[in-house]
């Protein structure tokens, strides 16, 4: 049993932390190998395992980065599954920045794909597509004669329209409509659902690790405030009522860390085993992120309600965790269903 990171992963985490602190742009992140770490050697990268993903995203979350790495990794992973070798190479070096357009309006957390493709065109609507606005390639799910399939679509092409607003998590989110938009079918004629399942599991791990990093930063900020803010002539962190709440928070964050480790360690497991861990981890991290957001605001007091204080965007980022890839209840129901079936 060994819960320590490999030397390579620790080095990546350290250099990523340093680079993010200095304020890295997209090409610097790509140069550092952030994207390469999300792909296996066979795919052209140097990582791709659960712990590679966890390490990268914990640092991105810790820094509050809104660089669209998760979306590039998710869509890029599907490109790799579809043997789009040249594109994957460009994703890894940062020149192609893809996003995956999958969820559709009114579906809540169930991904029922109604978009349709025939020949070289696609029609349909996609909802809450994170980072689509900054993507230069869309990987789109749609039904065609073979069932659920994947397509590459240029976001600037005729027939593609984006309606983009800021996202609760930071960054941007778009509603996309395809009206006879040009599309290129990618990948095998069957099995797209299986590919999507795995890549969404990996993306859920990425989101949970990101949340964990964010929670670590929020914990440090809150601790710092408890130590320095004085009321009634003493630091507010000297009040036992606040000490106990902070102690409870730390316990829950450690639980969330273990949940992330569980999922990272089972990302390559059989689909049912993997799904069980996806749901357990997402449920726990969703709950914990919510708790940490609310408690950190309350422990700070009024200052945390202001946009000019740095906690606000991080609290929103934590609240947003539960609104992507299935919320607490959705994953609890899925966990129960999986446990009942096995």
């Amino acid at each position: 049993m060994d819960f320590s990171l490999t030397e390579e992963r620790r080095m990546l985490a350290d250099s990523l932390r340093g680079t993010l602190k200095r304020g890295a742009d997209w090409s610097q992140l790509a140069e550092l190998g952030v994207l390469g770490a999300l792909f296996t050697e066979d795919e052209g990268g140097f990582g791709g395992g659960g712990f590679d993903i966890a390490v990268v995203f914990e640092e991105l979350g810790r820094a509050g980065s809104t660089a669209p790495i998760l979306d590039a990794g998710l869509a890029g992973g599907l490109l790799a599954d579809c043997c789009e070798t040249a594109l994957v190479e460009r994703v890894i070096d940062g020149t192609t920045r893809p996003a995956f357009a999958h969820d559709e309006p009114g579906n809540r957390y169930d991904a029922t794909v109604r978009s349709r493709a025939s020949g070289d065109t696609i029609n349909g609507a996609k909802s809450m597509v994170v980072s689509a606005e900054v993507a230069n390639l869309l990987v789109v799910s749609a039904q065609d004669q073979d069932g659920l399939s994947l397509f590459a679509v240029e976001p600037g092409a005729k027939g593609v329209s984006l309606r983009t607003v800021p996202a609760l998590s930071g960054g941007q989110v778009s509603e996309i409509t395809f009206d006879n938009a040009p599309a290129r079918r990618i990948g095998p004629s069957t099995g797209a659902a299986r590919l999507i399942e795995y890549r969404l599991a990996a993306a859920t791990l990425a989101l949970c690790a990101d949340a964990l990093g964010t929670m670590e930063t929020v914990k440090e900020m809150t601790l710092d405030y408890l130590r320095t803010r004085k009321q009634f002539g003493r630091p507010i962190g000297s009040f036992q009522a606040l000490q106990h709440r902070m102690a409870d928070l730390v316990i829950e964050i450690e639980q969330a860390r273990s949940a992330v480790i569980n999922l990272a360690g089972h990302l390559g497991a059989q689909p049912e085993q993997r799904a069980l861990h996806v749901s357990a981890t997402k449920n726990i991290v969703g709950r914990t992120a919510h708790l940490v957001a609310e408690e950190s605001i309350q422990l700070h007091g009024g200052i945390a309600m202001t946009e000019s204080y740095a906690l606000g965007p991080l609290a929103r980022r934590l609240i947003a965790v539960d609104h992507r890839f299935g919320d607490e209840d959705w994953h609890m129901e899925r966990f129960i269903a999986l446990r009942t079936a096995s």
């Binding site: 809540r108 169930d110 994170v130 607003v165 996202a167 009634f232 009024g302 309600m305 947003a320 609104h323």
Partner: protein, 397 residues
């Protein structure tokens, strides 16, 4: 034990309902329902409608132009207004300064200021908290130094709600630094257009501008603007707090919020069915509804005691905690109910633009309102301060 209202109370409730049906402008109710921040004009219009009916100052004695309602009537009025999505009454003049002037003000102050609160000439805001004096209000540092017929005021106030609409501010200021903190505070009325008063917006994490900072630099305030005696400010502040805490449970707001939540849960679909029929979500709603039913009765127990002449006391701390927990739980469920739509956050805080939310009408406010209402367990004496009051005053710990 009788849980029902008297026939008189029911007649009053029906009268309030008729009034709201006839006089509440639908466009104002729509703004309240959609959580749009009301303009100054909106608030003033609603105040004027209430004032015309003699219901603007429900808690004031008739001698001062109020309705002189008892605690049960006030509760009925507040609850019916919340259920009808009426704009809230701005409390600073009506519920805070008004009662203070009646108790501590001079005849001249009463004659001058009270009618101006009723007719809308003055919009008051509250200068209590400071950056270093939040929960520990008595440590406030804004000073007022006597100079002939004036006080010269220097310092900074914060969390000044709707100060951007106000022309007057009532402030707690330090007039004696050589005594224990509570004994050196005075209560001063200041014109916002006096030279040296500067107001700056504070944007909250939901993107709204409700609160402000007020900077006071060599502000000359006539001595006749002192309320009560010099250094009597803490007593006045405590008296004011007992009035601030009317309607602290927010039963009407919670009831309206719960109804809105249920509408959303019926409109959203999860797994091919309305979200309201999802057993987990239904259980979450049921739990908060049961809590609200019990709290409504706790609230009425306190109100009945007050109507029978009991002084408001530690019960308000209990109601504040339970009331904020329930309202925050409802806002939390509303955010959950809109599902992935909460990801879209077209907030001015983030973008400085005025983009609209792409989802259904009910989806846009869910996350911002959830975030905004994290404030209610912080302001007006945080819930931790309230627990301290319960432990000390009620339990003798």
């Amino acid at each position: 034990m009788d849980l029902s209202y008297s026939a008189e109370d029911i007649a009053f409730r029906d009268e309030v309902r008729r009034f709201l049906r006839d006089k509440l402008p639908p466009e104002l109710a729509q703004k309240v329902r959609s959580h749009t921040l009301l303009s100054k004009d909106n608030f003033e219009r609603w105040h004027a409608i209430l004032n015309e009916r003699g219901w603007l100052a429900g808690n004031w004695p008739k001698a001062f132009g109020g309705a002189e309602w008892n605690a049960v009537q006030r509760h009925i009025f507040e609850e019916e207004c919340a259920l009808a999505d009426a704009p809230r009454i701005i409390p600073f003049g009506l519920h805070m300064l008004g009662p203070v002037l009646m108790k501590f003000g001079t005849k001249a102050q009463q004659d001058h200021y009270l009618p101006r609160i009723l007719d809308g000439t003055d919009w008051w805001c509250q200068g209590y908290s400071e950056p270093e004096a939040g929960s520990d209000l008595a440590s406030l540092r804004t000073t007022a130094v006597r100079d002939g017929d004036h006080y010269v005021v220097n310092g900074q106030k914060t969390w000044t709600t709707l100060g951007q609409y106000a022309n007057k501010i009532f402030c707690l200021v330090r007039t004696d630094s050589n005594v224990k903190p509570q004994a050196g505070i005075s209560f001063l009325l200041i014109d916002m257009d006096t030279p040296g008063v500067e107001i700056r917006p504070i944007v909250l994490i939901d993107g709204t501008h409700e609160v402000n900072e007020v900077f006071l630099t060599d502000v000359r305030v006539p001595v006749e603007n002192l309320v009560g005696e010099e250094n009597q400010g803490w007593t006045i502040a405590k008296y004011l707090l007992t009035h601030e805490r009317t309607n602290i449970a927010g039963v009407g707001f919670a009831t309206a919020g719960l109804a809105a939540l249920k509408r959303i849960a019926r409109a959203e679909r999860a797994g091919g069915r309305p979200l309201a029929e999802n057993p987990h979500f239904a259980a979450r709603i049921a739990r908060v509804e049961m809590d609200l039913m019990a709290m409504a009765t706790t609230n009425l127990r306190v109100i009945a005691a007050a109507a029978a002449g009991a002084a408001p006391g530690v019960e308000s701390s209990m109601l504040k905690i339970k009331g904020t927990q329930i309202r925050q739980a409802i806002n939390d469920l509303t955010r959950r109910a809109v599902g992935p739509w909460a990801m879209a956050f077209p907030s001015e805080a983030v973008e400085g633009t005025n983009l609209s939310h792409p989802g259904p009408d009910y989806a846009g406010p869910a996350a911002p309102v959830y975030l905004n209402y994290r404030k209610i367990s912080i302001y007006g004496g945080s819930n931790e301060i309230q627990r301290g009051i319960i432990a000390k005053t009620m339990l003798g710990l």
